[in-house]
């Protein structure tokens, strides 16, 4: 597929991810859902330990969303949060390996 990537929670003996592999760019709203899904997957305690990482990852998605998504044909995008990292390396990683991501929802046609 043309657009692919994943959002991961790693470190602290945890490796969970939400990935996409699809024909259309990933919507920002779907990326936010992936972040929430990851929090559920890893459990409240681990999610709380990564709260700054999740917040920073969401802010990055916000920023990309506000500018219309990631660039049309960039190389791979990799982001690790939080920065500075936690001493125990609990983190949230964003990877866009193909295509575009974090784009706004398409406007609906109005009469």
């Amino acid at each position: 597929m043309e657009h692919g990537g994943r959002i991961q929670a790693q470190g602290g003996n945890i490796e969970e991810s939400e990935s996409w592999d699809q024909g259309t760019p990933l919507l920002a709203i779907t990326a936010y859902e992936y972040l929430e899904n990851l929090k559920i997957k890893i459990g409240r305690r681990e999610a709380d330990l990564r709260s700054v990482g999740f917040d920073q990852a969401a802010r990055y998605i916000d920023r990309m969303h506000a500018r219309g998504g990631t660039d049309p044909a960039p190389p791979i995008i990799r982001k690790s949060y939080p920065q500075p990292p936690r001493p125990d390396q609990r983190r949230v990683d964003i990877e866009v390996s193909r295509g575009r991501a974090f784009v706004p929802e398409p406007r609906r046609e109005t009469e």
Binding site: G11, D71, I76, I77, Q83, E95
Partner: protein, 160 residues
């Protein structure tokens, strides 16, 4: 006490550009022979757009021959101590995927000490070797008894 280099790089565009040049110059010290042999190229990874200058990453490189990558993240210093972490990761898949790229990720506040440690980590990595290291007396030093990349954290003051 560590003397950090370009500590305001996220607020000062000139410091940011200087940081990028600093890492590029460090990269050239890795070893011309290995860089050519394994066709290492940089940059490899994007921050998402040229206007995103957050140091995450500030430098990256890729070898299609080794299927290996390097990602350097620079963050602002939070203390006067040595601040550096490194960990292994996979790009484009997991450990079971033969097409995935094995990555050495390094996150640090830039100083001459962390640059030296990063260089010590990068040199074997670009040559296709494992990254041996250990922490002794608060300093990160080569550890030839280790044969794999391990994550580590060095919150210690450098040894006197």
């Amino acid at each position: 006490m560590i003397s950090h280099i370009y500590p305001n790089f996220l607020e000062d565009v000139q410091e940011y550009k200087a940081s990028v040049r600093h890492w590029e110059e460090l990269w050239r010290q890795v070893g011309k022979c290995e860089l050519e042999k394994y066709q290492w190229t940089y940059p490899w990874i994007s921050t998402g757009s040229p206007d995103i200058v957050d140091g995450n990453p500030i430098f990256s490189a890729f070898s299609p021959v080794l299927l290996r990558g390097i990602r350097i993240i620079q963050h602002e210093p939070t203390s006067s101590k040595l601040e550096i972490q490194a960990w292994p990761d996979y790009v484009g898949g997991d450990i079971a995927d033969p097409a995935s790229i094995r990555e050495l990720a390094i996150s640090c506040a830039l100083s001459s000490e962390t640059a030296r440690i990063a260089l010590d980590l990068m040199r074997p990595w670009v040559a296709g070797s494992s990254v041996p290291f250990g922490v002794r007396a608060g300093l990160l030093v080569p550890n030839t008894s280790s044969n794999s990349v391990e994550s580590f954290y060095v919150p210690l003051e450098p040894a006197a």
